[in-house]
């Protein structure tokens, strides 16, 4: 069993940004149209912004204000699909027998975003990039809980998914729209997460967005299934 406190959260999706947007969304969830809009990262100088993909901008946009308020912190970044637009661009160059872009190549690896985060924040705390399955949120919380257990005063957690390129569309069915969620986890006993074995229906929305629904709407428990894993979230004392 894993216990922790969620001190702050932020989320972004096309057309959904502040807490009020998400409060409205959780009352009547829908899949927003993706018009390709980029979340604001104006807190970075242009020379630093240019290396950020949309996925990176989403991650920075949600997590940066939390980090500003909290100071240096370990970070757990989870994305099942990662930088699919970059990796596809590289594969297409390769197929055309063209030289690969060093920038695309160096930023295509799964831990590139946390590398940029570390450089641009000047934060050398422990950082981890995970690619789990549809329950990446829970796997990331488990990872964060181990860091809290080792004495870290807090852990930043980011779950982010970009709209996959059309070519991958038929193979990716768990990204209804691009989204990013950041949590600031602290030691404490407000929430607990328990893993049990059991099958059940898939959640209507990606797990991180289901958690946003619960946090924004005040729900006391969540149950998420992925394969034979049953994740039970509950507010302690609720």
């Amino acid at each position: 069993m894993t216990q922790f406190r969620i001190e702050h959260w932020r989320a972004w999706a096309p057309g959904l940004d502040g807490a009020a947007d998400w409060h409205a969304w959780q009352q009547a969830p829908f899949a927003p149209q993706d018009g390709g809009e980029q979340p604001d990262v104006g807190f970075l100088p242009a020379l630093q912004r240019r290396r950020l993909s949309r996925l990176a901008r989403m991650a920075f946009h949600v997590a940066w204000p939390l980090a500003d308020a909290a100071g240096p912190l370990p970070l757990v970044f989870a994305s099942r699909h990662g930088e699919t637009p970059r990796t596809l661009a590289i594969l297409e160059d390769l197929a055309r027998d063209e030289p690969l872009s060093p920038t695309q190549f160096s930023l295509s690896v799964h831990n590139a975003i946390i590398g940029l985060w570390s450089i641009q924040r000047g934060d050398t705390s422990e950082m981890t990039a995970l690619a789990a399955e549809g329950d990446g949120l829970e796997q990331a919380v488990l990872e964060a809980a181990t860091l809290l257990g080792e004495g870290s005063p807090g852990v930043l957690l980011i779950v982010a998914e970009e709209n996959p390129p059309a070519l991958y569309g038929p193979y990716i069915d768990d990204v209804p729209f691009p989204y990013a969620v950041a949590l600031l986890l602290r030691p404490g006993a407000d929430w607990q997460l328990q893993l049990a074995e059991g099958a059940g229906p898939r959640a209507a929305w990606p797990h991180a967005l289901e958690l946003v629904r619960a946090l924004s709407g005040g729900a006391d428990s969540l149950q998420h299934h992925w394969k034979r894993r049953q994740w039970n979230w509950s507010r302690i004392g609720a």
Binding site: A46, L47, R49, R50, R51, S101, P102, T103, S106
Partner: protein, 86 residues
């Protein structure tokens, strides 16, 4: 300012994703790497690739004078012109 210099400035902006910059913002003698424009080693590789593609020339990354050729837009233009003439 030569056309070749302008073309190289635009290539730098385009290849390196320098949002909010225009060719006029890059003086021909502005240091490109480290100081000046503030580009880094990944930019050096990316720019080298872009120059090779655009002008159909070969650049030897190991050659001692490559660093000098990439000092600024003026030296790059002189280098490209000499390679094209060769």
């Amino acid at each position: 300012m030569s056309d070749l210099q302008t073309e190289i400035k635009n290539l730098i902006i385009e290849a390196l994703g320098l949002e909010d910059m225009a060719a006029e913002d890059i003086a021909a003698d502005l240091t490109l790497f480290g100081e000046g424009l503030g580009l880094d080693s990944v930019d050096a590789l990316e720019l080298g690739l872009a120059i090779q593609k655009r002008f159909g020339i070969k650049i030897d990354a190991e050659a001692k004078d490559t660093r000098q050729h990439f000092a600024n837009v003026a030296s790059l233009a002189a280098f490209v012109a000499s390679k094209q003439a060769a």
